[in-house]
């Protein structure tokens, strides 16, 4: 191994096999020189993405007015880049929805121009 490369071990989180994938890359050029330990191709693709542009599903709550409970839970329908999560949280915190809400209902459509919707994951009945 030359001095310019970095080795990292990441645990693949796609399936419960939890493969420990070790990879070596050049931090300057962002070029991956080796990947070991993935049991399948999905793991290889994931680890590349994870290293340079991690994607996450955001799960949180949204305020509900006139409901039996003060909050409904929500999530993004797709994973979004980790770096966009802070701004997305702020948008969600500034929003509120009138009860009733149902599982699957879209509350924010393509927020911040992201390729996803924000949907309800725990419904709230009207008071």
């Amino acid at each position: 191994m030359n001095n310019d490369s970095t080795t990292k071990i990441l645990t693949c989180i796609i399936c419960p096999n939890s493969c420990r994938i070790s990879l070596t890359y050049d931090p300057d050029t962002q070029e991956i020189t080796s990947i070991h330990g993935a049991l399948c191709k999905k793991g290889k693709d994931w680890v590349e993405q994870e290293l340079f542009k991690p994607m996450r599903t955001l799960c949180s709550s949204i305020r509900i007015t006139g409901g039996r409970e003060p909050l409904a839970s929500i999530r993004t329908t797709k994973a979004v880049s980790l770096s966009s999560i802070k701004e997305l949280m702020e948008l969600i915190k500034a929003s509120s929805i009138k009860a009733p809400v149902e599982i699957g209902q879209v509350v924010l459509s393509e927020p911040l121009g992201l390729d996803c919707d924000v949907i309800i994951t725990r419904g709230v009945d009207r008071l």
Partner: protein, 416 residues
């Protein structure tokens, strides 16, 4: 008002275990089923687990807790399985050929006659008392699950600056949740040399937000009079004593405890059901029947699971076997053999087994192991062998086995 109810199978708890047990029983042909839950909403703990990652095995997609729970609740509704919420089971009395269950709801007393009972009450968290946290007891100390409930159900953030003691999954999930809500999570501490929670949660809940995890670190003292104002932590030496020279004080207004879960077995104890000292859940047969014939257990009341999909699977099985018990297809003359958790195996469920049966063994290892081989043997005869490139105590391992007809003494599970 007194109400009398007669059912074949009574299920206590409408969380993922209870609802799946009911669906399992229904699929096996039983129509007389009732589920009781003390909460207002069915779904159990999943209602407050708003993060995703549930259902990856069962549905091949990542759902949040409430969504996962709702799928089975909806199926129960569709199949006309009644769920009594806001109802608290007070006592279970064993009769000759049935059980009498006393339950309380607002303005109502139920007396329920059932032929079989499925325990699906889940678990609760270990508290500060249970781990003897040193220092004062100011306000601002919560279990991670309580803080989760307050935040996700009642919109109350318990603090602005927080240290999490213990690296169990709920603690890790709360580290992320509190960070997203604007609190500063200073650190997570763990006594062991490995985290208590799943790898995926270390990565997504701590690493994503640069929250440090201090392994092999203990609590010197909690500070504060009325409210927590800080905590002193120190690394452990190899003899497990605190290395005070390297202690550090962290300013914080809140401490969350994520130091383990305990199956909730008060009701089981009232039936004198034998409890496993390690799992703290009932001792069961391969059919998930407890030491009290006709009483079955599944989900976190039996053993604390880390993946809900496995809870549902186990519970369905309990539902099916309860039906075979009720229909009389059950010979109680079957001889029982014990399963012995041997080398590097912390526990094994079921704890007893009958010859020529098939079952799923659930087990955990005692420490992180690379290139682990788990073998199940009986009197030097190998029954099954499985290899794992890596395993650790936070991952439950399940192995399906066919128990041979002729057993000599106990079955042994070992890891090397």
């Amino acid at each position: 008002m007194n109400e009398k109810i007669n059912v074949s199978i009574l299920i206590i708890g409408a969380g993922p275990a209870g609802t799946a047990a009911a669906l399992g029983a229904k699929e096996a042909g039983e129509d007389s089923i009732l589920i009781i839950d003390r909460d207002t909403r069915a779904g159990g703990i999943l209602n407050q687990c708003i993060h995703d990652g549930f259902g990856l095995m069962r549905y091949k997609r990542a759902l949040s807790g409430p969504e996962y729970a709702q799928l089975d609740i909806d199926s129960c509704h569709k199949k006309n399985i009644p769920i009594l919420t806001d109802t608290y089971v007070h006592t279970i009395i064993k009769g000759d050929d049935h059980f009498t269950i006393k339950a309380i709801a607002t303005g109502r007393l139920y007396s329920i006659k059932a032929k079989a009972v499925i325990l699906a009450m889940g678990c609760r968290e270990r508290t500060a008392g249970a781990i003897s946290l040193p220092g004062s007891r100011p306000a601002g100390i919560y279990t991670a699950g309580t803080a989760q409930r307050l935040l996700n159900m009642q919109n109350t953030l318990v603090g602005r600056s927080c240290v999490i003691v213990g690296s169990g999954d709920i603690g890790l999930i709360m580290a992320r949740r509190m960070t997203l809500e604007g609190a500063k999570v200073q650190a997570v501490t763990e006594l062991q040399s490995y985290p208590g929670g799943l790898d995926r949660n270390i990565r997504q809940c701590l690493d994503d937000f640069d929250i440090p995890l201090y392994l092999e670190t203990g609590i010197v003292s909690v500070h504060g009079n009325d409210r927590v104002c800080g905590i002193t932590i120190a690394p452990l030496r190899s003899d497990r004593t605190l290395d005070m020279k390297n202690s550090q004080y962290i300013t914080c207004d809140t401490i969350l405890l994520s130091v383990g879960l305990i199956p909730e077995n008060e009701l089981s104890r009232s039936l004198d059901i034998a409890i496993d000292p390690i799992t703290q859940g009932p001792i069961v047969t391969g059919d998930l029947m407890t030491s009290c014939p006709g009483v079955f257990a599944c989900g976190n009341v039996l053993q604390v699971h880390d993946i809900v999909d496995l809870v549902s699977e186990e519970a369905k099985r309990a539902g099916r076997t309860a039906v075979s018990f009720v229909s009389g297809a059950y010979a109680d003359t079957k001889e029982l053999f014990s399963i012995y958790a041997g080398e590097k195996i912390r526990y094994c469920v079921p704890q007893v087994i009958t010859p020529s049966s098939t079952t799923t063994l659930s087990l955990r290892v005692t420490e992180p192991i690379t290139d682990a081989t788990i073998s199940i043997t009986n009197d030097a005869t190998l029954i099954k062998k499985r290899r794992y490139s890596f395993t650790q105590p936070s991952e439950m391992i399940q192995i399906e086995i066919s128990v041979p007809e002729n057993l000599v003494g106990s079955l042994e599970v070992n890891c090397e």
